[in-house]
Symmetry: C2
Subunit: 110 residues, 2 copies
DNA sequence: ATTTAATATTGTAATATTACGATAAACGAT
DNA sequence: ATCGTTTATCGTAATATTACAATATTAAAT
């Protein structure tokens, strides 16, 4: 016990859960929003922007990168980060299925 | 250390993170999807539907209820659950801001 | 009043997340 | 080669999440 029983759920359910989980932290939302305003920046810029220590920011960046929500390219001794629109589009599609289902529902509740 | 530093982020960032976190588990996505197909059901139906023990399902339902993604109405000795469309619409609006920003971005990356 | 059925809560073990200091690794500049 | 800059990783403490057995609660049925 303790670990999520991913085996028992569908691939789509697990995939959506992984992307949502990567976004489900205010620091990571802030990073994404920041990247959307500046388009591109190095890790140090994000460290300056957030009220968190450098290793913490680095860890959040790693999680966003693992979920493929962002991309990091090495530029000399710095790393240039940016949004990976592909994953966001995938997320949008998955969420759209949910949102459309909700709009189709007629009964409010029991 | 250990706890999320919610104080340092905006209300919107925290609000979105809380809703996403509530959805960011395959079991809870499965519950939401199931509720969307049946519109309304009692807790026991969800327990039968999922590969999880009754207390685990009850805990997931509580989290979805805390985030106001679902609603639970007492019906005799059973509890009738259903989707709360309001929160999903709020989520859709918050996500739409992100998705639109991504579409506006011209530069792919560094 | 007792029994049955449906949920919730409590307690707890296993695991995961969050945060950061200390340190390492990688590169450019001197 | 050494130094400064930038980022990642390691180690670790605090906290949160996930899961379930056992138990409690609630209400209907007998």
């Amino acid at each position: 016990m303790g670990a999520t029983k991913t085996d028992h759920f569908t691939d789509k359910q697990n995939e959506l859960a992984i992307i949502l989980k990567a976004l489900a932290h205010p620091a990571r939302i802030a990073i994404v929003e920041y990247l959307l305003t500046v388009n591109t920046c190095i890790c140090g810029d994000i460290v300056n922007e957030l009220p968190l220590a450098q290793p913490t920011v680095s860890q959040h960046l790693k999680e966003l990168k693992n979920a493929e929500l962002i991309q990091g390219n090495i530029e000399g001794n710095a790393v240039c980060y940016c949004i990976n629109p592909k994953t966001f589009k995938k997320l949008e599609k998955l969420m759209d299925v949910l949102f459309k289902s909700i709009k189709k529902q007629k009964t409010t509740c029991c």
